[in-house]
Amino acid sequence: MSSPIQLQPDETFVLNVGPQHPATHGVLRVKMEMHGEYIVNSETVIGYIHRMHEKMGENKTYPQFLMNLSRMDYLGALGYSHGHVLVVEKASGIEVPKRAEYIRAIMVELNRISSHLFWFGAFVMDLGGFSPLMYALQDREHILDMLEAVTGSRLTYCYFRFGGLYNDIDDDFIDAARRFIPRMRKSLIKYEKLVTGNIIFRKRLEGNAFLSKETCRKYGASSAVARGSGINFDVRKNEPYSVYPEFDFDVPVYHECDSLARYMVRMDEIEQSLRIIEQGLDKLPDGPIMPAKKPKLIKPPAGDYYQAVETARGSFGVRLVSDGTKTPYRLKLRSPTFSNMHLFDETCRGMMIMDALAFMGSLDLVIPEIDR
């Protein structure tokens, strides 16, 4: 629980980390009450790039809101779109062709890898290593090129449609994806050598920021933050949606509860995503990518619908309250980083500033996604 920070006359001082600070990856601000290098108390201030997506959702029709989702999280945009299209399809009873479902899963996993790669680079950069960022970006570039060739944009894809997809994938994409998988595996070995095994890196992260299961539960943490604390929770497995039950993949869980565990979870997830892509490409059925009969105007029946999906950053939920009109009555976007970030204030107490910032990096923050 954060409490307001009052200026102490002496002994402690307030350090204002952000809104523009190299470690906060965006416009996040943390007011830290410091005792030397130690954090006595901290209060996170968010909302600097709040755009009120939820109100936009109420004002726009369902298809018009599609592109907003990718603006929420610019690194793992497709995961968020997936949640949104799934809830609307569920509400209005649109059947999605199998091929579209498979392509969605492949795309989301590719996007997840690209997001994790970026996180990996940025995280190591937080710890002072620059070159891994560039290597990660090189690998990410291959993914972005593949996605661009199919979706038409590199970052804020507006690719999923209610009932299907905007574009079908072609053989070029399949070839590129097949070539990408072994290359990525090779890169993972490189990262393992360069970063994971590095003694400086390990010493910094081992035992850094202990997060108990109970803390995770009370704050609703998900993604690697929860899985690094020994919680076997992945929406793809716990509440299977789309075609995920048809894939054989593991959920990496580490029980050390420290930043290294969170790091390891994400790195292992890249491998699992590669497995999903591999299987998806093998199993990819032929067929249409849009349903044969799709309602001209999307008007879900009145009611309350919820859909959670596992995005790169954790469990993303969309609550759709429909009143039967062509615009949602209420569209709540539950962003995973919002909950993950909330942990920070409580956990960083008593830590040194450099450890706290390493911990902040391990949370995988994307500020527009917190602020929505």
Partner: protein
Amino acid sequence: MVTYFSDIYNGLISLFIGMGVTFKEFFKPTVTVQYPYETLTMTDKYRGHVELIENDEGKPNCVVCGLCARACPSGCITLAGEKPEGAKKKALTKYVLDFTRCSLCGSCVESCNFNALEFSKEYNLASTRKEDFIFDLLQRLEERNK
């Protein structure tokens, strides 16, 4: 005592392995594109801003149904048309795209039933003036035809 020395040993080894990785990378070719001097061509499906498609006579395919303007989430399309004497279809007189608000979602192209809109492959769109991004597509079409 043993762990003390094995820690130091393993640590040093890990550092040398890391340096080996960067050493190998040092001799690999560069992968970047020198942007202003080299440029990439966009893929077929690249979504730039929209352009009008012309028919054989060099006139736009557009029939001024206004579906694109209605589909646009940000309201960046304004179009007008009039029906010339004796013609069956409406002719486009004005088509303005406010690119400052466009989010390149492609709803307009998707909503078009008359094959009148396409994505341009243009991506070098830097300017210091806001007015430069209010595109008169009809005018652009004429300029293209010249």
